[in-house]
Symmetry: D3
Subunit: 293 residues, 6 copies
């Protein structure tokens, strides 16, 4: 009986998001823990079957560093951005496209979804350009120095054609955050940014970012201060006030940008909690932070 | 959390019946009690939203008799079949099409479905012919006598065209058991039979008959003897042995016929139990009797 | 030979109205007299077969009153509008949807058309709201009194989707003037108004109102004063001058509104004359009053 | 009033032949007399507008001979077949395609149809091969002699693609009886035969041959002996008995062949009678000879 | 090996003009010399097969005069325009539509293309009106005199529907420069003008005019002064300066008009050079004069 | 001029293979040498632009071994088959899908094609099962021993759906030879076999295998003994006679199988020769060995 009452309670959400595109950023825990990835994949398939159009973007930082270490190459970061030489780029591509993407595709197919793996190189899906060199200020001398991050890119344009063709034909696209420039060079992209830009490019209803924290916290040290719902304006103020920081800052900026680009709502939720995706979509209270216009 | 676990448990059923037609016969309690009708309509809409294609056939016997009484006309039955003269036929039409069908359509629309009412007269959906006179044997004299039941019909053919067009365009057809013969005469049809024949005609996956009893009982006087699952062959044996009787007999025969005509499973369930429709479809054990090949 | 000359004479009209929607309001005589209804149905089918897209709206006032009397309920009117309590509404629905609509559908199907009955409740085709209470001035005291007419509605919006789907698939929609409000209540609508609003909503080329009089008369007491053709401006002047009155007034206002909403021409013709529908469409002179911009 | 009664009488035929292809062979009088051609074109357009799919094949013998004479070239026939050298073929093409076909197309367009002229050379519509030499027996010596008729062809295959595309898009194809062989040589074809073969190739419902006689006569010298309706079997017997002769013989054989190839009925009618086409299709009795299986 | 290098060199052009419409005006040599026509037809088919959409317009002046002479009728020109009485018009039609068009269609089909012949009369493709009388000034007296050229027309409008339908379905339309006025009269049109107007009407990428000269020459007497590439503005200046003259003037004006109407480039090339069509499209330097915005 | 003659010579092949699927197995040299891969990609795009539907399958053995060595893992082969433990499988996936596939996709896109990378895991494109253990006979003792090759699979079924959707929408699918079993395990597949099975599964016209040898040689040590054209029967005889051996044997068997499964022709050609793909398709003599029924 409970089964059925709950289905009935879910009906309004099923109706509301019928045929709407839901962009899901797989990240953190959901990428490492086999069981978590399994559960997330199953939830993604369920969204498809109850009539939504899930599109997946995944990250994979830790896995890349692990592979680099294994190949005797030391990962190097500057202010959170991976310095990416040719050899590193090759490893990034192999891990993201060859390992993580195929695993996610496999999990989704196993649970009955028809997943297709893509990277930004497929039919130039994610056209990018090399980022301008990073400017670093020497704390002591105060001098400003340019550091070239190598093959790190920023998105110029997203081509929604292939994604729309796939969702229209009942496939679930799974996208690796790899871009291509006009000279066919591969560029390393930030996965959160890719999720946000693709969400905007395909007119997604929702952008859901799976992380390893409960959501945006008023006091990052206290999980009990989770913000359940916040407007972009309020959130922008929080950002300005310096409360949002660390890894949460880029995710937050991505969400703000996505809302400004027409996505109806953005969600930052805890991917470690089982079925957090469904809890966020199918319950009124949700489980993480929901950002709306 | 429970919410979500249950959604996840429902996934296999959602997948299995994706884009499949589910014929639902509304009857008994579900036709009388406002709240029950409401609940059944909501459940029907949910089936649509999770990807199935519900088609509804409704009955309405008690309501017809009530209306006849109100108009000073006494209902008359011979062995369970309503003797239907011209005037009765007019009342039957008004009650089924004008009252019950519009109420169901209204309920379904209210809960977010796009219902369209139909009767067998619409584009000659249910082509029928007058039944042969009923033969009655006088228990005392042993004489056999023919009794003309009047405008009572049996289905000659079902035209699935309009129903398929509606389901393909996301509408939910709601059908009154009224037939039309080649001379445009209206004929009174048995609602269970209509449900079975239409289910077969449109290639439905399931036929679900909502009744006022728990299902088929091994001992009709003992609700604890509910048969959960039975094959047509076993059920035919039960019928021959005389265990299935009364109002359950024609429903049972309809189910057997539907299975023989290619419907994958037929279900007789208790419409009085809230959400019985969902319980039957989305739980392994179900709630009533499931008949399969 | 005559046969053929006449077909040839009809050709310009057939060409002109090819694939155009023709809204026909069945009323008066055409609703009572079996032979007249038969003839009107046949003519409607002919329009379909020579390439037009007929859509039918029907009325049914006298029939409703007859049914009410039969059920021991006295019809009550205030300034021509039926006071509609819950019980009356139920009878209205049963008569319009269950009796008249199914009869028209049957007639059209019998003559080879593929008619589908609809009411405003089907997929919320006619969304309506309760009319404001009627204000009556007491002739003696001069006092103004509000009278609630009950479940009498006015149209808020028409959803052309289902009608277009039906005409595109070669069906002939037959619509009962029943509306639904946002709370799923049924509302009694004026059939002429429904015909006009639906004509505008579906972009009909013509609105043809079948009545029991020859058309609009300059002198209502003299049938020889029939106005053959008149512009909306001239007709509005006639209305202001008080020459159009009685039952003709609302029909006239409906026609004026329809023209203003983009319908190319509106026609008020005598449904008692055999084949008046065809005479009006296929002859230069026509048979009733044609109103154009 | 008559107008309308006649339209109503035509309805069954309009219904019966809805969306059916009607192959019309223009010939004889209809090709010479301007008024007759005009009338035939108008009738053809009417068929289109009442829902049929007319396809026209035309002949043009007398016109060709006239043009040859004008160019100082003497027409030569052997047993009714035109001996066709290169120069003659050129004239045949110019007259049929450049003169007669464009005139018919023009007439049909003028009356509101969307005609497109074709010859068998367009996209190899009529693939043909050179006929075997004609064998003539010398009446005196009894010797058999082969006579090469030159560029006279017989149809190998009809490609219905272009015709179906045109009728599906509301065009009326008008076809000149010119064929093409595998080496791109132009071949002179018999127009009746082309009409019959194309009728079969496109699955026409009717083949209507317009001639200068009332139809098939039991006694060719007595117009009162017109056969109104005859089966292929009976007609084959007539042919064997030698009653059908002269120019009527090949037309008759074409009709028999067309029926055997699946055309439902073939008609030989008098093109000189105004609107004979409509009289044959829209009246029960018809005007000429109707041949059926 | 050369084969393949050349294919590879052609690739950029194949890509650039993929699915683009290429209007080709067949004229001069290409219309007279059998081998040249053959070669041009083969090249046209190749364009189709490598993904372009060729549309052909042909002329036929010399052939018409030849036919007139043969029929004992003397061709008459006033300032390069053929005086066209009824009889001449008939001959023009027969030669253009019946002879030249069918020959081109035949050649294209022989080389594997699916050509369909059209004239401006087909479905009123080229709606035209009679040209105003030509005004001639008497060199001696200085008097101005009007001369009626007879059935010579100028284009009012082009209906791209039938052409688009044909190219969309992989056919190659071949168009004779014959127009039709609103009264169904046939009018003689200038073939270059037709090519230009149709090119604009169907949104062609290129207009290629095949002539008997190398292109536009700076010094018409010196073939070495060929202008390879010129803008419309520069070309307009050349025209004003009187350098472009004779038969080249109308062709030049047509090209300027086409560019102004949105055609991307116009080409005047030498049809006598084998494969000039391909040389112009597939080589950087081209072979004739290319006019661009 | 040469340019154009060659295009014209290529026309018959362009026509013959219009809209036909051409399966190309990239291998050997074409996978290692950057310039060769570039040239092959450009040729593949050219095939697309001249109307064929290329589908690519690639191998990558040497690259995998290189990557394994780099990661300190020694490649192990048994009779030419790579022994594939979990860790090896991971490396295989990363190299094939993440490195080689993305490089090919990139090259094709750079030359103007719309490539999409796929592996057999995408939507379960290549359903496979683990191969039975390899049986090895000890040469000395004659004993037979089973050796488990690990995650090496053989194809159970190919799902042509996603490939057809991509080619129909003008994409070029590029497939990595990775399979998936019913439990979502990844299996290492032989690339030649995948090419053959997919060719059969999608109804390809041609299977072209790019290798590092000129083709099948009668005397493997003498390149002058190249067999230009051979039937499957003759080739089967060669195989039986032991002349075909080494790496050529499995390629040969794949080709034979593909022909038997309905592919019209199979080609083994030298990928080291520039534009060998085009030379084989567009010249009569070809460059390698062509196998036909």
């Amino acid at each position: 009986m409970k089964t059925v009452n709950i289905l009935v309670e879910a009906l309004p959400y099923i109706k509301k998001f019928h045929r709407k595109k839901i962009m899901i950023k797989y990240g953190g825990h959901a990428m490492i823990d086999e069981a978590a990835m399994d559960s997330t994949a199953r939830d993604t398939v369920l969204l498809k079957y109850v009539g939504m159009e899930p599109v997946v973007v995944h990250g994979g930082g830790p896995e890349i560093s692990r592979a680099m270490n294994k190949m005797g190459k030391e990962p190097k970061f500057i202010e959170g951005l991976r310095v990416t030489d040719e050899e590193t780029m090759e490893i990034v591509k192999m891990v993201l496209v060859g390992k993580i993407n195929t695993s996610i595709v496999s999990k989704i197919c196993y649970h009955g979804g028809r997943a297709i793996g893509l990277s930004g190189k497929d039919s130039n899906l994610l056209l990018a350009r090399k980022r301008a060199p990073h400017v670093v200020r020497d704390d002591e001398t105060g001098e400003r120095r340019e550091i070239d991050l190598g093959l790190v890119g920023e998105i110029e344009s997203v081509d929604p054609g292939i994604i729309n063709m796939l969702t229209d034909n009942n496939y679930i696209p799974v996208i690796s955050p790899i871009g291509v420039d006009r000279d066919a060079n591969t560029l390393n992209l930030n996965a959160d940014t890719v999720a946000g830009e693709v969400a905007a490019g395909i007119g997604a209803e929702k952008l859901i970012v799976l992380t390893d924290v409960p959501g945006i916290l008023e006091d990052p040290s206290d999980p009990d201060t989770l913000i359940r719902r916040i407007s972009v304006d309020e959130l922008s103020d929080l950002v300005k006030s310096g409360i949002v920081e660390g890894g949460m800052l880029p995710k937050t900026l991505t969400c703000i940008q996505a809302i400004n680009d027409g996505v109806s709502s953005a969600h930052i939720i805890d991917g470690r909690v089982e079925h957090s995706l469904l809890l966020e979509i199918f319950t009124k209270k949700g489980i993480g932070t929901m950002i709306t216009e």
